[in-house]
């Protein structure tokens, strides 16, 4: 990374903690200021700016999350300013999930009061849990622990670690093999489990084969990445295509049902498939994110 790229990475890490409306203008200004600081420092030292000089300057400037915090107004004492949005996001998502999982019991005959004084109110453990950890982290930081040193990172790293990927590919292959032999494995389970987990006879011949086809394609793409030691434009596109393929396939399973013979098992499986779809969608979104480009504010004369 050259000095300007390091500054770009730093500015990106600062502004991602700020409200959307302030990001471009604050980032644009900060980038200009840091560039000037670096030029001054290089002039003083009589050399051209270097990557290490830039890193030293930025580390003195402050950790991006701490710098971002100084831009933000004060929030409740238990949270640093830049953690307010993640706190709300985690808390509200967690509570919504807990309510979504427990509210169907009310439609099945449970009284609303019983639900409210049980899982309804109980869902508030999530914000409390987040606050407790935030306080713990803060107190450990004050004692000098958890002091992370900032390092620049590209938003998308194309290089992959072959040893890590070897383990990943072996795990992938084992998981797919287990899924392929799942119907046979289920038959050997004790008690009522084979009956509870029995697949619908119409499901496996076509849908099962489609899933195996997508897994094989995904495995082949990841093997190609492992062999190259990096992602290419082609492998990224093919990976996104298999992701979309999985989304469509899972959506059809969720809509049509008839995965398992037992209605209760079928309902449970469809709920978990929705969660898997959310994860795939999240992964696709993450991969499509490109580094933010800072534009001169409209007011620049």
């Amino acid at each position: 990374m050259n000095p300007q790229e390091i500054i770009e990475a730093y500015v990106r890490d600062v502004i991602r903690h700020l409200p959307h409306r302030d990001r471009n203008e604050t980032g644009f200004e900060l980038r200009g200021l840091l560039t000037e600081m670096l030029q001054e420092q290089a002039q003083q030292q009589g050399t051209a700016p270097t990557a290490s000089m830039t890193l030293d300057m930025l580390r003195r400037f402050g950790h991006p999350s701490e710098v971002a915090q100084r831009y933000l107004p004060a929030v409740p004492a238990f949270l640093p300013g830049n953690q307010l949005r993640p706190f709300l996001l985690v808390s509200l998502t967690g509570m919504a999930l807990q309510w979504a999982l427990t509210l169907p019991a009310v439609f099945a005959g449970q009284s609303i009061a019983a639900w409210w004084f049980g899982p309804g109110l109980g869902a508030f453990w999530i914000p409390g849990f987040v606050v407790m950890f935030s306080l713990l982290e803060r107190s450990l930081k004050l004692r000098g622990l958890f002091h992370s040193q900032w390092s620049p990172r590209g938003l998308q790293t194309d290089r992959v670690s072959r040893p890590v990927w070897t383990v990943g590919l072996v795990g992938f292959a084992l998981a797919v093999l287990m899924m392929v032999f799942l119907p046979t494995l289920i038959q050997s389970l004790p008690g009522v489990l084979p009956a509870v987990l029995a697949f619908h006879p119409d499901f496996l011949p076509v849908q099962g084969m489609l899933a195996v086809f997508l897994w094989t394609a995904s495995f082949a793409i990841h093997t190609a990445v492992w062999r190259e030691g990096r992602w290419t434009i082609l492998t990224r596109r093919m990976d996104a295509a298999t992701g979309v393929g999985f989304l469509l396939l899972l959506a059809s399973w969720v809509i049509k049902g008839n995965i398992f013979l037992q209605p209760a098992t079928d309902e449970g499986a469809r709920f978990w498939l929705v969660l898997v779809m959310v994860l795939i969608l999240w992964d696709l979104l993450q991969q499509s994110i490109r580094p933010r480009v800072l534009h001169p504010p409209k007011a620049v004369k």
Binding site: E29, G32, M37, R70, Y71, P73, A299, V300
Partner: protein, 112 residues
């Protein structure tokens, strides 16, 4: 009893006068970097990581106005006191002078 003054305590004391110091230099337009140099010139160096966010916060609170200007190809954001900022500067200056007088009295007693 420490013989060497604690840098942490000194830093805390300086932080208390930061807003007043910054406002005092913004009667004429300054951008972040030139302001930092002006303050350093008066023996009041300020961490850039503290100064630039402070300028944005003061503007957000309605004490400063800002405009983008392009000098020698480099777009810069210039800050200047507005009417509300002028008033605040007057109030803080008066508070500072009163505080300074009180402290001087206290320290004189201490040394007597």
């Amino acid at each position: 009893m420490q013989e060497v003054p604690s840098p942490k305590l000194e830093l805390e004391m300086r932080r208390g006068v930061l807003v007043l110091a910054v406002l005092s230099q913004l009667k004429k337009p300054q951008y972040g970097y030139s302001l930092r140099q002006a303050l350093a010139h008066h023996d009041l160096p300020i961490e850039e990581g503290t100064l630039y966010p402070l300028l944005r916060r003061l503007e957000g609170q309605g004490y400063l106005q800002s405009e983008w200007r392009t000098d020698d190809g480099q777009p810069r954001r210039y800050y200047q006191l507005n009417a509300q900022g002028e008033t605040l500067l007057g109030q803080l200056t008066a508070s500072w002078q009163a505080l300074n007088a009180s402290l001087r009295g206290l320290l004189k007693e201490e040394n007597a």
